[in-house]
Amino acid sequence: MSGVFRCSRNFAQALTRQVRWYASPVSPAHVDSTVDKLKTETNRLSQTTKKFWDQVSFEEHAETGKLVIQLDKKPIRTPLGNHLAVEKERELLARLLQKEWSNISHGSVKTHALPLTSLISRCIDLEAANKENAHPDLKVKIGGNRRELSDSLLRYLDTDTILVFSPKDELEGKLRAAQDDMYLPIIGSVEKFLSQYSAKTISLQILDADVHGLRGNAQQPETLAAARKFLDSLSAWDLAVFEKTVLTTKSFICGILLLQNKASANPEKGLRYTMEDIAKAATLETIYQTERWGEVEDTHDVDKRDIRRNVYAAAIAAYKP
């Protein structure tokens, strides 16, 4: 028995190397490896890849009043050791987290099966690490230093999916037409949106393959300053949602669109988009490539679902009743 167990742990460790509990744009060097050794359910799961509980439930915490998700009556902990818990008003979210764990039916557990848990854990940990009296080590452990996080997120603005335009002669010009159609209005609205955070009028630098060739792209310093100000205005929770969206869509702008539509009750006028629009905007090139060349099994279909499950998970996390 113990032999089998050890064997499964080695196998699992190989798996953990690939899939972290939550992805961070900060390079792995910034993430302390000790966080993997914390004895939390989330880590235990990825180390054993074996179901070790019978009952998933949630319960109101006596002190915090939050709903704590539990495995066999013991609270699930995030990678930093916090309770996996949500405000009482978000019972639906608690239900979804519970469901995510109870739907793991098989002997083995895949870490990719828990996208909502991993995102909410990130939200909770980022919040905890950035509390006023939090121990500075916590930030180091999860790559949660907001300045560094902003730095790495701002880099996405240079090569933002929404700012890169294909040559007009590619795919009979269909892709470029679709990009002009969809991206240009978004860019205009986002420029207006970011201008709120700057004394100057913000103008986003696009990368047009026909005009600029294959050079890199860099935003103006005032654009970056405005975008940084916007990031600073976000709560830690929303920042984690934003981070998830940017990593999923490879687009800073999609992050703005998602938060505008889900975190606030009144999105700015030109920024009203559905989550499907966001997923579409982020994958416009693939959509037209597959239309022309066909879908590559095991790649395009998986990616399509992967992007959407992550965008929708972010939408759910961002929503406040």
């Binding site: 064997c7 469901k99 739907n103 039916s105 002997g107 895949k110 989550m275 679902r305 499950r309 929708y312």
Partner: protein, 157 residues
């Protein structure tokens, strides 16, 4: 169709589909457990029957018990978890009903639609991963057992 009802339908459908695999697995596990229990009881009766100094009344009773147990095993074996019609319903819809009945604005409806879309995409993602990586859901024990079988060994149970 009222928008709330349509949203409710989307939610219910998403939950039914997403829960199916886990519920089948759970039912299969329960069935296995019940079968093991019945087999154990049959063994006990067989042991009793093997005794020599039994009067005919006891012998009759044991025979009856045994045939009853056999019947139960038969019934259980015929119950295929996949065909259980209960799988077509969400187990507990009370929280979904509460949501629909308390819908206040379009934003709330949108949120519920997002939840359905999340669940659907997650399920479809899982199904694709499973299709392209057969056996990924197998437990390590099962994997070892199958590998052993392949080369003609059997794992001690």
């Amino acid at each position: 169709m009222k928008p709330e009802l349509r949203t409710y339908r989307t939610l219910v459908r998403a939950f039914v589909r997403a829960d199916r695999t886990a519920r089948i697995a759970q039912k299969a596990a329960e069935r296995k457990q019940q079968l093991a229990l019945l087999t154990y009881r049959r063994m006990n009766i067989a042991r009793e029957q093997a005794k020599k100094d039994l009067d005919s009344a006891t012998r009759m009773k044991l025979l009856k018990d045994m045939s009853l147990l056999n019947k139960r095993v038969e019934i259980l074996k015929q119950k295929v978890p996949e065909n259980d019609k209960k799988l077509l319903f969400v187990q507990d819809t009370s929280f979904l009903r509460d949501q629909i009945l308390s819908v206040q604005d379009d934003r709330h409806i949108q949120h519920l639609e997002d939840i359905s879309a999340f669940i659907d995409n997650q399920r479809e993602y899982d199904e694709l991963i499973e299709r392209y990586n057969p056996g990924i859901r197998m437990s390590q024990e099962e994997r070892v057992k199958r590998t052993a079988n392949k080369v003609g060994f059997q794992m001690p149970s």
